[in-house]
Symmetry: C2
Subunit: 220 residues, 2 copies
């Protein structure tokens, strides 16, 4: 029974996600679903990304949180168009929430849409929002065993940002083991080793996004 219900919810979600994807395609908008556990550094990476790219392209942000608007307030300070979604306890965004958010903020003229999902290493991986790409943020303080323990979210990602490299020396995180496991799980993903607070390694991520946005913009 439970499985059937879940399949119904997922199939309805997939239909709405396809409609979102079609809208992003028509608008030549590159949409990123930014996922990772609470505290992995998603919002800090987002802030740095917006600061680096906002002069070059039109960007909008959708912020997913359980109850608060703390992250949206951080983004608004950067002068970026942002819509907060509160899931009132729900553990992930779904496609219908994204549809409502883009209806409200309007995405006309937007080139890059970043959707920051609820902090959670499990559920967001299962719900397609219509994005072009999932980017998973994973920090070294979470432990090098996590890719094999939570494989789906790492398999689904086109980009993985391995964050908090600045505090690597104070952890027992084995960087080569984690890199090997990530490459085995997801051989084609782009892996960025970064420290969001210091900015280390982020320029490669910015260039990657620039390339994606440009490529989407050129599609007929």
């Amino acid at each position: 029974m439970k499985v059937t219900v879940m399949e119904d919810i997922l199939s309805r979600n997939d239909k709405l996600a396809s409609e979102n994807r079609e809208r992003f395609s028509r608008g030549k908008i590159f949409a990123v679903n930014l996922i990772g556990t609470p505290g992995a550094g998603k919002t800090t990476i987002l802030e740095k990304t917006l600061a680096a790219l906002k002069g070059e392209m039109k960007i909008a942000v959708i912020e997913g949180d359980l109850f608060t608007s703390k992250d949206a307030e951080r983004i608004e300070k950067l002068g970026i168009k942002v819509k907060q979604i509160n899931t009132t306890g729900g553990c992930h965004l779904d496609a219908s929430m994204v549809t409502a958010a883009i209806d409200e903020i309007g995405i006309e003229g937007i080139e890059l849409l970043i959707i920051e999902n609820v902090g959670n290493l499990v559920c967001p991986a299962e719900f397609d929002l219509g994005e072009d790409m999932k980017a998973t943020v994973f920090s070294v303080t979470e432990g090098d065993d996590k890719p094999l323990k939570y494989p789906i979210i790492f398999k689904e990602a086109e980009a993985i940002l391995l964050n908090k490299l600045d505090i690597l020396p104070y952890t027992n995180f084995d960087l080569s083991k984690a890199s090997d496991d990530l490459k085995k799980l997801n051989p084609t993903c782009s892996l960025f080793k970064v420290a969001a607070t210091t900015g280390e390694g982020l320029s490669a991520w910015f260039d990657f996004l620039r390339g994606k946005v440009k490529s989407k913009g050129e599609k007929s």
Copy 2:
């Protein structure tokens, strides 16, 4: 529709959780539901707790994970009775999984049962397993904004272990802000400030558990 389905699932879960709670009560078993985000340090705290208490009382462990048995293997090395539950992608344990696990391992004579939930700061808070107490592990590397952003799991906990204090100097975590927020969310909880890898602060947690197990054992 979705809400009704969720209510059905929760009400069925609550019924099974009550049956588990009744079994723990008859057996005078103190049951802990250990929750927290992936990488907060649940398994390391569990290992240290088992090493400290296994000579004093009979302990069993249930390990919840998506797919692997990595954590159960860590526990087995300590000579503790352990049952691995794989949720095959599911984001939390539920009461029926715990029922099946205690049927299989047998809990006759056990005084302390520790159930390590799937790493997730959202979903495990909503599913009663029949435990006496939820203990939430929260590490300083997750950021001091997390109690207000993920309040349910902190409100539900009788004990909160604030972990990784040893790397606090390398983070921007505001300890007094986080402590204040936790106390506001949950004024009666017991807060333990610990560093699982060094053992700092854990003796107070061990004493707290000793008291709980003794008290449960004396109930008629």
